[in-house]
Symmetry: C2
Subunit: 213 residues, 2 copies
Amino acid sequence: MARHDASMSVIKRLPRYYRFLSDLKSKGVVRVSSRELSEKMGLTASQIRQDFNCFGGFGQQGYGYNVTQLHEEIGSILGLNFRFKAIIVGAGNLGRAIATHMSFEHRGFKLIGIFDNKESVTGQIIKGMPIRHISGLEDFFNENKPDVAILCIPYNAAPEVAKQLVDLGIKGFWNFSHYDLALQYPQIPVENVHLSDSLMTFCYKVKQATENE
Amino acid sequence: MARHDASMSVIKRLPRYYRFLSDLKSKGVVRVSSRELSEKMGLTASQIRQDFNCFGGFGQQGYGYNVTQLHEEIGSILGLNFRFKAIIVGAGNLGRAIATHMSFEHRGFKLIGIFDNKESVTGQIIKGMPIRHISGLEDFFNENKPDVAILCIPYNAAPEVAKQLVDLGIKGFWNFSHYDLALQYPQIPVENVHLSDSLMTFCYKVKQATENE
């Protein structure tokens, strides 16, 4: 069991395995071979076996994997059975979309609060909870002890909010802002979603494909 | 000039360089050394020089880079001066957030249409344009010739919509659904944004940090 030796690139593939297995499970599939998984996922079978070996195997040579068991194991490695308490900071379009669109409870989290700095949106209800004014963050924190924060705020607003959250004891950031939290707070887990970087990379790909036509 | 030899991992760093340079430019900074860039970006100076060498250099040894020029060059490599015509398919919370939140025009794209399969939202105005019913997709396509589609639809709806778009001649997908377009249509550029995978990876990181406390 070499759980902690798994590299980040293996870890980043686990959610995909988890999704595929959820799908198989919902279709009533009981067993799956690494060859079948590889065909459906566009990875080599040996890559898949190697990935699973990082966590001590899961399967018996030649018998394939038990879908339910593998699904549960991977979910548990990812920590999806946890209920880390999350708050969203920034209730603009993106923050609202994240609040309403994501299944936090199936991904290891529980959304417990949404904050914004605009008086005009304070009190509006999103996903059954009121948008709170950012000035109440400290009181909320002391009372509810959120574990992580989801930053849906602009670049310029991020340093101050991040510093306050770190001082209050936040344990992780899901970061949609472009502020480089990992550079500033290397001790705190950060997962970045850089939508404009993704859009620019997409632009490059489309441009290349168009030029090679 | 080895533009086409640049690996995808180099390409994926270009948007970050571009953002940093935009920031420097807006602050009136004229020149920047690879050492300064490296400190601000958490990369090594030699990594940065190597990345830029993939595109033929940009700088003179010892003089640093001209910020405006480098910014323009990288923008042009990414193709941000293009105006690829984009449509959004799926006007739920996520589609609306993408429509209103993203600066398409600074990222190589122009949003020209938003589609949904719900009659009840058809006609609603987002970013100055009406949500169109998906049944009008073909006519719209023939008239306006969109280049790319942004898929903000659920997994189950994706195969059919994707097939229709590919048949109509779409040239790229910015894909927020979990449908594996790259596996299905390997000839078409796809950039995926898997928000739930990112959330699960984040869960793993928080779990690991909590366990190592």
